[in-house]
């Protein structure tokens, strides 16, 4: 903590000086935003803050409505308006100007305009329709940065009814020579799929192309869509299982460029997406599951290091192994893994271990019995969240013998718990148990 104070103290002289440092660490100290922020931090009461912000908002309102404001000044005004909205004050007069800025500004001004639009508006706002034209124009621009910005804003906020107007343009970007554009196009289509799935049905074969794209970024992006589609219809995609298995093999074997490594783990988010997809495909299907056993074994072996991210991958791996058609060696290794989690002194891992136990307890009740002592310890853990997870677990392994004890513990927890949602949930569980075991 003290080195942050030190850093602040050393930064202060440059903050207060009149020339700003070049490069990416430029603190906009002399800008009006800087003055505003410093002004707010000096005030002591909420009332004074309100007064200052209202004054600021009136001044911004005047300036944005004046015809003499240049785009450069408008950009600066937008940033201040975003700041005021973030503090909770309404600045709805600036919304239309944000859209204008995105339309008329160049490059960075456009970027701030788009940012302001994505932060200010929501999907049912009537001003959003004005944005569509700007986006259409930018998508066809020869300047790739503008295309990127347009695709970004489309993925963040776009009215559902205008999708047909923009779909062909986004589709054509899927074949663009630059991978960043292809990737953003895939993500825009993912967003469309989420808000209006029937509009995007006809381009499934294009997603397949994205899946086989030579750039790993584009391929990862297409996995989001695949996960959604497979969740709704696993049967239709079983033929892709071998492709997914091959990709996972390559990732785990370190065949991706070094840049995708996160703390020496190759593309962990990609691994986790693939594991989730594989578990959906292999559920209740022996032949499909058999294709996956080897690569799951490999993933379990590779994820040996002691970093949070490897534990995350192990957790997904374990879940996958327990979902698909069972294989005893894999189950054994997974059980050992869960054991390590639950016994770990690190509290986050204990939590994960308890969650994993809850998930697998239906299939393998002996595992929970093995770790009985630890579970009982967790019941008295000072952290309420761990307690709650333990109660979830106990709820699943209730039988006629231990039901009284478990219900007692639950009632005890209910007395100290303050969160309404959890209370409702637990009360429901107690009622269920009461019915089952009168």
């Amino acid at each position: 903590m003290s080195d942050v104070v030190e850093k602040t103290l050393t930064a202060l002289p440059s903050l207060l000086s009149l020339d700003s440092q070049p490069g990416s660490t430029k603190l906009s100290s002399t800008s009006k935003l800087g003055t505003l922020i410093r002004g707010i931090t000096e005030l002591t009461s909420k009332h004074e803050e309100e007064k200052l912000i209202q004054r600021e908002l009136t001044s911004i309102k005047e300036q944005v409505s004046s015809p003499n404001t240049s785009m450069r000044q408008m950009k600066e005004l937008m940033v201040r308006a975003i700041y005021c909205e973030m503090l909770g004050y309404e600045a709805s007069f600036s919304y239309i100007h944000a859209i204008k800025l995105a339309q008329q500004g160049t490059a960075l001004e456009k970027r701030v305009g788009y940012l302001a639009v994505s932060l200010f508006l929501n999907e049912s706002h009537e001003l959003l329709l004005l944005l569509v034209n700007t986006v259409l124009k930018d998508l066809q621009s020869t300047n790739l940065i503008e295309v990127c910005m347009a695709l970004t804003v489309v993925s963040q906020i776009f009215p559902k009814d205008m999708i047909p107007a923009i779909l062909p343009l986004v589709e054509e970007k899927l074949n663009h020579p630059k991978e960043i554009i292809r990737r953003k196009a895939v993500l825009a289509l993912y967003k469309f799929y989420l808000i209006a799935p029937n509009q995007v049905q006809h381009i499934h074969n294009k997603f397949r192309k994205a899946l086989c794209d030579k750039d790993p970024g584009v391929m990862t992006a297409s996995l989001h869509i695949y996960l959604q589609m497979i969740q709704e219809n696993p049967e239709g995609y079983k033929d892709l299982t071998t492709s997914f298995v091959t990709i996972l093999k390559q990732v785990v074997g370190g065949k991706l460029p070094m840049d995708f490594n996160y703390h020496s783990v190759p593309a962990p988010w990609l691994q986790i997406q693939l594991l989730r997809i594989l578990s959906l495909l292999g559920k209740n299907d022996q032949s499909t599951s058999e294709i996956m056993y080897e690569v799951l074994d490999e993933s379990l072996r590779r994820a040996e290091m002691n970093h949070n991210i490897t534990y995350a991958i192990l957790y997904e791996c374990v879940k996958c192994i327990y979902t698909i058609h069972p294989k005893s060696e894999l189950l054994e290794k997974a059980a050992k893994c869960i054991g390590n989690f639950v016994l770990s002194p690190k509290i986050n891992l204990k939590y994960l271990g308890l969650k994993a136990l809850t998930y697998v307890v239906q299939q393998d009740p002996k595992l929970a019995l093995q770790h009985q002592m630890t579970i009982i310890e967790c019941l008295d853990h000072p952290d309420l969240i761990i307690k709650r997870e333990t109660l979830e677990l106990l709820f699943r392994i209730t039988n006629a013998q231990n039901v009284t004890v478990i219900v007692e513990k639950m009632l005890e927890f209910l007395r100290i718990n303050k969160d309404d949602y959890t209370t409702i949930d637990l009360v429901g569980k107690v009622a269920e148990l009461a019915e089952k075991y009168p």
């Binding site: 993925s155 990737r183 970024g217 949070n308 939590y351």
Partner: protein, 156 residues
């Protein structure tokens, strides 16, 4: 899928807010209030995960800033923790030893970095280099208004 990401100081002042699903202003305000109260009340050695309504809240404290990310129930909590960490790494690489002041005074840059990294509630780009290059390219925009120049930078 992620629902929202909030950054706030130890006094509960909001520094950054990113919403991945549409929400009304009232809901947003309520969520911000709830999050700050809940997270700031946590003991230092408890686990980084919380339950709130039907979502899971992952939070982590870096110096004087709390990063608070909300995910849906079926998501993996540890991975969300790493998402936060990855974002912090990106900020650190961009600002060079980032501190809260950097984020306060350059919050629009923090938003740009976030937008290159997360999209529609999912991780967009796992390659650190790509994210950095696209941010640096748009920084060049600030110095020089002619656009063709940095196209070479970004796509070269």
């Amino acid at each position: 899928m992620m629902r929202f990401l909030l950054l706030f100081s130890r006094q509960g002042k909001l520094r950054l807010q990113k919403w991945f699903t549409p929400m009304s202003e009232r809901e947003k305000k309520k969520i911000i209030r709830d999050m700050t109260t809940m997270v700031l009340a946590r003991q230092p050695r408890s686990c980084n995960f919380l339950h709130w309504k039907d979502l899971k809240i992952i939070y982590k404290r870096y110096a004087s800033l709390f990063f608070c990310l909300a995910i849906e129930n079926q998501e993996n909590e540890l991975i969300a923790l790493e998402v936060i960490h990855r974002y912090v790494e990106l900020l650190d690489k961009y600002f060079g030893n980032v501190c809260e002041l950097d984020i306060i005074f350059n919050f629009e840059k923090a938003y740009f970095i976030l937008d290159e990294f997360l999209m529609g509630g999912e991780i967009q780009e796992t390659s650190k280099q790509m994210v950095n290059r696209s941010i640096e390219a748009s920084d060049m925009l600030q110095e020089d208004d002619s656009s063709e120049w940095f196209e070479v930078e970004l796509f070269g």
